[in-house]
């Protein structure tokens, strides 16, 4: 379908209905489309994940398609999940066939955004950067841009339904999002959303049954770009605590909270965050950074109305800032200062590793020693809790953010590659390792240190198995060589630098 035909259809429609206003909209949109259609590009990503159970190898590669938005001559932004585990990222401009290889400069799972660098080559010329919109509010109309199967730009109207802090679809983080009601079927993540000829956001998910889409809006993109343009990239600030609503009048009375309708209850404070220096479980937050927080956790945002207060942290502050909070602790009011940091997955006892980074591991005598991660657990499928056992499931579900000591992880025996050297031990799978060669282990760094110092791992102690699994030291080297050959283990260990 050519752009001319789209116009023709719209015009006919206007004539039939006799609605001059509609025709006017179509004409105005055409002008905008001309102005912004050079800002959308198709992104083609060849990705490949690590094999969850054989971390030395990779799965069959696949291809994902989506969109990117040109924000300056050599920079394109897109969604983080699109470029996850990328091996090759290519860009294609509308109505062209050339694919241009691009590099991923920044990929932030917490923001759901990625930044791509485009080489300065001829094929990339003519891309038109789009500026960010000054503001879009609820019930306003926006236009969604994407490409059809012939790489023509396709445009459709949408309306902003809801503005809220919601969980990102592909990562366990919350962020300011706009929910849109779309008139077109959106065919890819990263589709460009425009208002008044400026970028309003990019699409991160779409539900064709309800025709609603989730959009990462311009304020998030703005912060991401500001940060990216002033390296090093610092990312978004995190609250650093888990909280619950505080509606229950009995609980409010028990905690001595007198303010009607205000305050949320802190449940636990995540170690390593700024909150852990000043906040405590059972603190009630009445005000945060100058805003009143209601008992469901909302505040009144000057721009977007009622929002979950975490936007005050992630959206309005940066790591390194310090904010004031009014709290009730032991029935008394206090004003405290809370330094903000960026909490990362690495601070967890069991990192989620949603982005699927390669896991550190060591294969010794066929025993696969590795670190527990959310990604690994979920690789066991829908009934992962039964597969990995109730103990590990419980540990993940209740304690994953809470290492006893900073940096502590859960080291497990992922299983054994059967070989004469590990006879008798092959049934142990997904057991927590407490000691190697008699020394306690809580991190993969310790595992590698023990291997370096002792030359080999010959004794593995599992939780609640009070006998070491012993490997024959003299036969180990030969067994490792045999295992590597037989099972085609390309590397017997992976150690992050």
């Amino acid at each position: 379908m050519s752009p001319g035909r789209i116009i023709a259809v719209v015009m006919t429609c206007a004539l039939v209905t006799g609605c001059g206003h509609l025709g006017g909209v179509a004409r105005r949109s055409k002008a905008h489309e001309d102005g912004v259609s050079g800002s959308i590009v198709e992104i083609i990503v060849t990705y490949q994940e690590y094999s969850p159970f054989m971390p030395w190898q990779k799965n069959q590669p696949g291809v994902r398609y989506g969109y990117g938005v040109v924000v300056d001559e050599s920079t394109v932004i897109t969604t983080e999940n699109l470029v996850r585990n990328h091996r090759l990222v290519e860009l294609r401009r509308p109505r062209t066939g050339e694919k241009i290889g691009v590099s991923v400069e920044i990929s932030d799972t917490q923001a759901g955004l990625a930044l791509l660098k485009v080489p300065r080559i001829k094929a990339a010329e003519g891309m038109k950067p789009i500026g960010l919109v000054a503001g879009v509010t609820q019930n306003e109309r926006v236009q969604i841009y994407q490409l059809d199967e012939t790489t023509q730009v396709q445009r459709g109207d949408a309306e902003v339904l809801t503005i809220s802090v919601a969980k990102l679809p592909w990562a366990p983080y919350s962020c300011l999002t706009f929910q849109l009601l779309s008139k077109v079927n959106i065919n890819g993540d990263g589709a460009m959303v425009v208002h008044d000829g400026k970028l309003a956001g990019i699409i991160i998910s779409y539900d064709s049954s309800s025709r609603t889409a989730l959009m990462l809006p311009y304020p998030v993109i703005k912060r991401f770009l500001e940060d990216a343009r002033n390296p090093p990239y610092r990312g978004f600030a995190s609250a650093g605590f888990l909280w619950n609503t505080l509606v229950d009048p009995a609980k409010r009375a028990y905690l001595g909270v007198e303010e009607e309708g205000k305050g949320i209850l802190l449940l636990s404070i995540l170690p390593g965050t700024g909150a852990s220096e000043t906040l405590k479980p059972n603190d009630v937050i009445l005000e945060w950074d100058g805003k009143q927080v209601d008992n469901l956790g909302f505040y009144e945002d000057s721009e977007f109305g009622r929002l979950t207060f975490s936007h005050l942290i992630k959206g309005r502050r940066r790591p390194g800032d310090t904010v004031t909070a009014t709290i009730v602790r032991d029935k008394k009011k206090h004003v405290i200062r809370v330094p903000l940091r960026r909490r990362t997955d690495e601070d967890s006892m069991i990192p989620d590793n949603v982005s699927g980074e390669q896991a550190e591991y060591l294969v010794e005598g066929g025993m696969i020693i590795r670190e527990l991660s959310g990604k690994y657990l979920m690789s066991h499928g829908g009934s992962w809790k039964e597969s990995v056992g109730a103990r590990i499931a419980h540990l993940y579900l209740t304690k994953r953010y809470m290492p006893e000591k900073k940096g502590d992880r859960v080291i497990v025996l992922g299983g054994a590659l059967p070989d004469p050297i590990n006879i008798g031990y092959q049934r142990f799978r997904n057991y927590i390792i407490t000691h190697l060669n008699g020394k306690p282990v809580k991190t993969m760094a310790q595992v590698f240190r023990i291997k370096d110092e002792d030359g080999s791992i010959t004794r593995i102690r599992l939780q609640s198995v009070d006998v070491d699994l012993v490997l024959d030291k003299d036969a180990l080297q030969e067994a490792n060589a045999r295992l590597a050959r037989l099972y085609r283990v390309s590397r017997m260990s992976f150690r992050r630098q």
Binding site: V247, A250, L265, R391, G424, V467, D472
Partner: protein, 493 residues
């Protein structure tokens, strides 16, 4: 033609004397009885009331001392039991005199002696049949009211879980004859003697039936000889085979010695305090244990624990062990305390509970785990699963007699905000540790600053309800939800 062929095959397969068999059958069928049961299961979702009574039938057979041997699962939770002989129109009321829930067996008695007229005790065989021996199953399966006879061969003899308790494992006789509901409790005959008692089928397998083999029947009958059923004693030891030469070297086990190494001791097991982790069990009652944990018994390689199966509660077992580089003899009395952290199915037990402020507290039990699995609060279920499976392994049981769970909420304004805590395991009420159900009640007698504060495992948030409002709400809640008793804390000692 076809019929002849089958007859011929059957004759060939039969290993005993046909004439004798027919004669025996005529005698035995008089002693195979049909059991009519009305039972009422407990309702662990609403522990203050029972569920709707249902009816069932099963089979049993007369053994010595005017007893009827049958499955425990047929007569569990029974409210009314009757028995009927094959050629008798009369049904006689019967009572359960012994239950063996861990082996799915029960003994019924009939007060009216005239019931036993014309019956003769069915005898247990001296030995188990061999594989491929043809056996006969008698019973009253579904699809008719009269006695049914099916034949099949013994296809396997192995260990399996007994689904009645769902945790106990014993020997099982697998027969390629269909065992259908109603067949349960019927005798499995070989050469006119009982080699097993039909007890469970396989829902996904065709023509596979399972029977409780003679040794388990014998064990049960011997156990109740003193007038009480004690059950199988538990050794309570986890072991690792020593096929790995490096492990044997670490244990300094000489080349001529074999056995298994102990890595875990159950705090409630007989072995606790006698066997240590790291001990190698070399032999059991004189039978040498191989590196893979088997012993040679009558020419078969069986797991060494099979010898434990033959032991009665209170008997001893002798192990030759290897400890710290030396051999040692250990006599272990097989007695162990009642273990509240084994989550068996429960029968004939009224569920315990305590209700305050519309919050229903109950001990963690297997039937409740099933209720929780179907329930609408899956977010806390992983706690229940973990606690039921790892109670002793991870020492979660230390200091408690049972785990107390908030099993329900009867909605009322006093507990509006408590919904998220359902299926949580209670650790404290009003700053007092909860070690058993009655602790909840006692702790609620002293509120904290006018509130009841309930804390749970793995939850940072606490449940808080107003103490006075609770007191006021209690009669309202009980009346409106039709609860006659606010608690059942168990039989008074």
């Amino acid at each position: 033609m076809l019929v002849t062929g089958i007859m011929l095959l059957a004759t060939l397969a039969r290993s005993a004397h046909p004439a004798q068999d027919t004669l025996a059958m005529a005698e035995i069928r008089k002693s195979v009885v049909k059991i009519y049961v009305t039972f009422q299961s407990e309702n662990y979702a609403m522990p203050w009331q029972g569920s709707i009574p249902s009816k069932g039938t099963g089979t049993g057979f007369v053994i010595s001392k005017r007893r009827i041997l049958t499955n425990a699962h047929i007569v569990s939770d029974a409210r009314f039991i009757q028995v009927q002989k094959d050629a008798d129109a009369k049904r006689y009321p019967a009572q359960v005199t012994f239950f063996g829930h861990d082996c799915d067996l029960a003994i019924l008695s009939v007060e009216d002696d005239s019931f036993f007229e014309g019956t003769a005790p069915v005898e247990l065989a001296d030995n188990l049949p061999e594989l491929n021996d043809e056996v006969t199953v008698l019973g009253y399966p579904m699809g008719g009211t009269r006695l049914s006879v099916t034949k099949g061969v013994v296809s396997r003899i192995d260990y399996s879980i007994y689904s009645h308790s769902s945790v106990d494992q014993h020997l099982v006789l697998q027969v390629d004859a269909a065992i259908n509901p109603g067949n349960s409790g019927g005798p499995v005959l070989f050469n006119g003697k009982v080699v097993g008692l039909a007890f469970q089928g396989l829902s996904w397998g065709e023509n596979i039936g399972y029977a409780i083999p003679r040794p388990v029947l014998q064990h049960f009958l011997k156990d109740i000889a003193d007038g009480r059923y004690h059950g199988y004693p538990e050794l309570g030891a986890g072991f690792l085979d020593t096929r790995n030469s490096a492990l044997r070297a670490m244990l300094k086990l000489p080349a001529d010695k074999t056995g298994v190494v102990i890595y875990y001791l159950d705090p409630f097991g007989s072995a606790k305090g006698r066997i240590k982790t790291g001990d190698v069990l070399l032999s059991i009652d004189g039978y040498a244990i191989a590196n893979d944990g088997t012993i040679s018994l009558n020419g078969n390689n069986v797991i060494f624990a099979e010898l434990l199966e033959r032991k009665q509660w209170g008997e001893s077992i002798t192990f030759q062990i290897w400890r710290n580089g030396a051999e040692k003899k250990l006599d272990i009395p097989l007695k162990n305390p009642v273990d509240p952290f084994v989550y068996r199915n429960l029968y004939n037990t009224q569920p315990r509970y305590f209700i305050a402020g519309g919050l229903v507290f109950s001990p963690l039990t297997r039937p409740y785990l099933r209720v929780a699995g179907r329930g609408s609060h899956p977010s806390n279920n992983h706690q229940l699963t973990y606690y039921s499976q790892y109670a002793k392994i991870d020492g979660l049981h230390e200091g408690v007699d049972e785990f107390v769970v908030l099993t329900g909420r009867l909605p009322h304004t006093v507990n509006t905000y408590a919904a998220g805590f359902v299926n949580g395991i209670v650790t404290e009420v009003n700053d007092r540790p909860v070690r058993r159900l009655s602790d909840v009640k006692e702790a609620m007698a002293s509120p904290k600053n006018g509130f009841h504060v309930v804390r749970f495992v793995g939850m940072d948030d606490s449940l808080i309800i107003d103490a006075d409002a609770t007191k006021k709400a209690d009669p309202e809640i009980l009346a409106s939800y039709g609860i006659s008793q606010s608690e059942y804390l168990g039989e008074k000692e």
